[in-house]
Every structure is written in structure tokens, then in C-alpha cells.
Amino acid sequence: MSVTRRKVLAGSAAGAASLASGLASPAIAANEPLRIGFLPALTGPSSSTGVAMNRGTELAVKEINDAGGINGRKIELIVRDTQSDATKAVNAIAELTHRQKVHVVWGPLNSGETLAATPLCARDGIPMIQPCWVDTLIDVKKYPMAFRNAPTNMQIGNAANHYVMDVLKKKKVAVIGDNAGYATATVAAYVPLLKEKGATIAYQGNVDAANPDLKPELLRMRDAGAEAIMPWSVNAGFLARILNARGAMGWDVPVVGQTTLGSGQTKALLEKPENWEKVYSNNFKNCCYDGSGKLPEKAAAFREKLAKLKIDMSDTLLWWIAVGYDAPTLIAETVKAAGDTPKGITGYWNKLTNWGGIYASLTFTPEQHNGLPDAEVVMCQANSLKDGAFNIAPGYGA
């Protein structure tokens, strides 16, 4: 048989066409690992969250890979420590999307870093999922591929306001923050929400975080008839001073507010353990002990697994590890069902309904990329930490 130039060209064209066709690409994709770019802050001042979430993420990836991967594809977790620094997070995002060609980004895990990184991810068209609370991080028009698997600041505020007004039935509220950016913005945002719910703001103020004596402020609150104090600050020293001043005054008023109220740093600064009574901090229903002292089924099994694997929980919170575990689990399920293309991942997430993680059940729509349901943000007893989890605050019912 003679081989003519026309036949060679025709054969080559057919080969090229078959390579470019839909039949060839899954074959290549099936051989390469799924690359997840992960951006925790493992060092630096804001690393406690990142260290904990990293434990959950590494565990989930190991489990998926040990079970054979996603349809035979292994997950390659490409971790870049942001060192709690937004500049490093930006550099890491650029490296992950351009050089490492990751399929999806998980993180960063601190708001400041995510504020800087999200526009870059959007520009490069890489789907990202992140757990930071700043409301503006999610904007389906500006960042159509960015999703949140944690609450927004508004959800946190609404949960606290709901607890004060609807559960504790307190109508006169004192709202206080320090003079840092987070606290001033939060107080300004949450006070209108309280007013909308019909609360009377007996006191509203921002105080120098280093002020050693907050008794004058608490006297002002008490004189104004406040029935609950809502402090918004991430400064453990500031929060402990509020609790100590309340204790010294012998004022039996509930304190309802930020997660840091229940932190070990706050505890260490209390003058008396009693000063931690009637203090309620934000938490999440799926990772709290119920009225009978039991964790929800999934969280209990997860904690048992962590204990068996000797994953350290003494210095951290269960929900942090659970968030870290849920993210790669969701990504793996997504890629299994919809492939690894940005369009496939985003399209799958846009239709995600009540996806049951350990930490949260997520629902996204094309118009709403904040996945956590309001009802899962609750208050817990700040002084009840045991094995990484807190008791749900009284009044939520069964």
C-alpha cells in the first residue's frame, strides 16, 4: 500500500482531533492528581485557627487518598503558610494559580489575607472556598467563583442578638467594643440590627483597648438600665477586664458576644472563675454539646476518630478542625460528580443543597455563596469548654 502525503496529513489530522476531543482529556485528567491549593496561616500571630484547620484538612485528604482517591485520582494538597501576612497570601495565591496550576483553592483562613487574595483568585478564574467572616468577601458579581463555608459577621451578630432578645428576653442592651477596626465596625453594624429587632440601646461605646479600668463604662451601662452586655472585640485582655469589672461590681448581668469570650486567653486573665458565669459566646450548633451533654452524632463520631488517631485537641476547638475536614471532603465530592474544571466545580456548588458536613450543612445558589444556615449559628456557655467543644447556651430547647 502506497503512503501518500494526503493520507499522512489525513491521519495526522484525525489523531490530533482525537487528542483534542472529549475522549482524550479525561484520560489525561484521570492520571494527574487533583491539586488543591491550601493557604493556612501556620505561623504568626493569627495562626491558631490555621493550625487547627490544617489538622482537619490533612486528615480528610489522607482518608480520601487512602480510600483510592477520587475515581482513582489522588488529591495533591499544596500547602503554603501565609504566616498571618496578607502580602504572603497574595504571593502564594499567584504561585498556586500560575505555577502550580491548582484546580481549586481552599483558604486563606484569615479575613485580612482573604480580602487580598479573593480578587486574584477571581481574576485567574480559580474556584475558591474560604471560612472567613467578613461580609464583603462574598460578592457573586465581583467574585463569582468564591464561596464561604462559614458564617458571615452579620450571621454572628444576628445569632447573638437573637439570643439576647428572643431567648433571654432582654430588651435593654449595652453594646461595647474596643477601638480596633474589627470592634468599631462590628459595634456600628450590630446596633442597627438590635434596633430593628426592637431593642433599646442603653449604652453604645468604643473604649481604648488598653484602658486598665472598665468600671466607669460598666457603671454607665448599669445606670442606663442595661439588662445584657454585648462586647465585640477579639482582644482577650479587653474582654477579661469587662468580666472582672462586672464581677467586682457584683452585677449579675449576662454577657453575650464574640467567640473570644470563651477562649483560654480570656480565662487566664479572669480574677475569679465566677467572673465567667453567665457569659455566652458564639459557636456552632453541630459542634456543641446539647442539654444532655452530648455532641451531635457526626461530631461525636468525628471527635472519636480524632482521639483514636491521636490528633491533638487539647489546644484547639473541635469546630476549627471540623471546618478544615469538611472543605476537602466537599471538594472531592464535587470533583467526583462534576469534574475538575472551574465551570464544573462552580456549577456544582451553585446547586449545592443542604450538604451535610461535620461542622455545617451548606447550601449555595447562584445568587448566594454564603453557605451556612442562620439556625446553625448559636451561643454557647463560655466556661464550658471540654475536649474542644462547648455546651450550647441555655434556652435553645432540645
Binding site: 488598653a210 468600671k215 463604662e217 482577650a236
Partner: protein
């Protein structure tokens, strides 16, 4: 209310006064306005908590170690941030170098110690009386420092040498006084006083790296009010500042209390730029 204003006001004022004295001791010996005073105060609290709380040392041993560390850091400040730039013509250079050194130490502390406030131990195991120890310890430290400095400057040879350098360094050098060694000693002394300020006020201010900026500023106010280099003025200025600040906390509250302090500070400086106790210096022409 009055009780709280007086107890807290005088206690915080005593810490401010000590930081003001720290500024003065460095300034009089070198004519360098070193912004490491707040850093020394911050380290006094952090190191005190480290030695006593975390390492389990007795309070007295912790105090002595803190003071020793303060002296060493004072000496390092002089060697690293003052001496190399002291001969520069532009005066602001050494202000910047001391500020840079202070920021460097603050960042190092933040990384190694953490950015959250940590508890400072109760120094004396006694119950709260009429006036708790967290109030009277800073006052006692301030009084002891003032008396000690008076004794040093008026009754000892080295103290008189300090004064001679402060009055006229050229004449003192001409008389054979070792200016460099005396300056080094004055920075060590300032280190001790600054660290003592943070240690004595630790139960109020906690062990917190963020105290540096607060102490730097509020410690500067009594110096400005009392006159540069005037320790008695710094003590009066510091105590008045503490009382006024605490009164403003009660009467105005919130961040407006700080605004009130700044407003009064600006008004006083406009009316008397040399401070209450300072004298207008004659200018050489």
C-alpha cells in the same frame, strides 16, 4: 467613684511618671530623646510574667532579673541605637534609630510572647485590703525611684558626674569625666527604671506587647508637662495625667476620655511650651 478615680488615677499616674523619668534619665545624659522608654515598660510586664508565672520563680528573684534585663537592654539601646548616630548632625536621626530599635523589640516580643495580653502574677500573696496591691505597688515604686534618684544625684559622686554631663557635656569632658561610660550607665539606669515601671504596673496593665505604644505616649506627656529632664516635674505631671485620665473615664467615657486627655495636653503645650516646671532655655547666638 472618687475612690476609684484616686486609686486607679494615682497608680496609673505613677507608672506614667516612671516612664517619664526613664525618658529624662536618658535625655539628661545624652541629649537624646529615646523612644525606648515605653518598650522598657512593656518588657517589664512581659518579662515579669515570664519569670514568675511561666518559669515559677519567686517574685523577688523575678523582679531582680527583670531589672537586670532592663539594664542590659538599656545598654544595648545606647550601643546599637544611640552611639552610632550620636555624632550625626541631624538630631532626628537618633530619635528615629531609637524608635526603630523599640519597634524591632516589640515585634520580636509579639512573635515570641504572643499578641494577646497575658496575666501578670499577684506579687504579694495577701488579700485585697482597703487599697489593693495593684494600686499601691506602682506608687511605692515611683516614690522609691524618686528618692533613690535624689540620693544618687545629690549624695554620690557618680550622680554628680551625671549632673555635670547633663549640664554641660563639653565642660564635663574637659574636666576628664568619662562621658561615654557615664552615658552608658545612664541608659542602664533608665533601663532599670523603665522595666520597674512595667513590672510594678503589671497587675493593672497585664503582660501585653501592645502596652509599648501606650506607655511611650502617656509617659511622654508628663515629660512635656513637667519639662524635659525635670524628674520632679515628670512625677507631678504623671500623677496629674493619671488622675485626669481616670476622671475623664468616669465623666466622659469611651474613646472621648482619650480625646479629653489629648485636648488638655495640646492646650497646656500651647500655653507653656516648656512645660509647667521647665524653664525657657537661653539660646546661644
Amino acid at each position: 467613684m472618687l475612690e476609684s478615680i484616686v486609686s486607679y488615677g494615682l497608680a496609673v499616674g505613677a507608672v506614667y511618671a516612671l516612664i517619664g523619668i526613664t525618658y529624662n534619665v536618658m535625655f539628661t545624659a545624652s541629649r537624646v530623646f529615646s523612644f525606648t522608654a515605653g518598650m522598657l515598660g512593656m518588657l517589664g510586664g512581659v518579662l515579669g510574667a515570664l519569670f514568675i508565672d511561666r518559669m515559677g520563680m519567686p517574685a523577688i528573684v523575678g523582679l531582680l532579673l527583670v531589672l537586670a534585663c532592663g539594664a542590659v537592654i538599656g545598654v544595648i539601646t545606647e550601643i546599637v541605637a544611640v552611639r552610632p548616630v550620636l555624632r550625626s548632625i541631624e538630631q532626628h536621626l537618633y530619635v528615629l534609630s531609637t524608635l526603630a530599635f523599640a519597634l524591632l523589640v516589640a515585634q520580636f516580643t509579639a512573635i515570641e510572647w504572643g499578641t494577646d495580653a497575658s496575666p501578670f502574677p499577684r506579687l504579694i500573696p495577701i488579700d485585697e485590703g482597703l487599697l489593693d496591691q495593684k494600686f499601691w505597688i506602682p506608687m511605692l515604686a515611683c516614690a522609691a525611684t524618686v528618692l533613690g534618684l535624689e540620693f544618687l544625684y545629690r549624695r554620690t559622686l557618680i550622680g554628680r558626674a551625671f549632673l555635670a554631663i547633663a549640664e554641660d557635656s563639653y565642660a564635663a569632658r574637659a574636666l576628664g569625666l568619662p562621658e561615654v561610660r557615664l552615658r552608658l550607665a545612664s541608659f542602664a539606669l533608665a533601663g532599670v527604671i523603665g522595666a520597674l515601671a512595667g513590672f510594678a504596673g503589671g497587675e493593672m496593665l497585664l503582660a501585653f506587647f501592645g502596652n509599648q505604644s501606650i506607655l511611650n505616649f502617656y509617659g511622654f506627656v508628663p515629660v512635656a508637662l513637667g519639662g524635659m529632664g525635670n524628674n520632679r516635674g515628670a512625677v507631678v505631671g504623671g500623677l496629674l495625667l493619671g488622675l485626669f485620665q481616670q476622671a475623664a473615664n468616669f465623666l466622659v467615657g469611651g474613646i472621648f476620655a482619650s480625646v479629653a486627655v489629648f485636648a488638655v495636653f495640646i492646650v497646656v503645650l500651647l500655653l507653656r511650651p516648656e512645660g509647667f516646671a521647665g524653664a525657657s532655655g537661653a539660646r546661644r547666638v
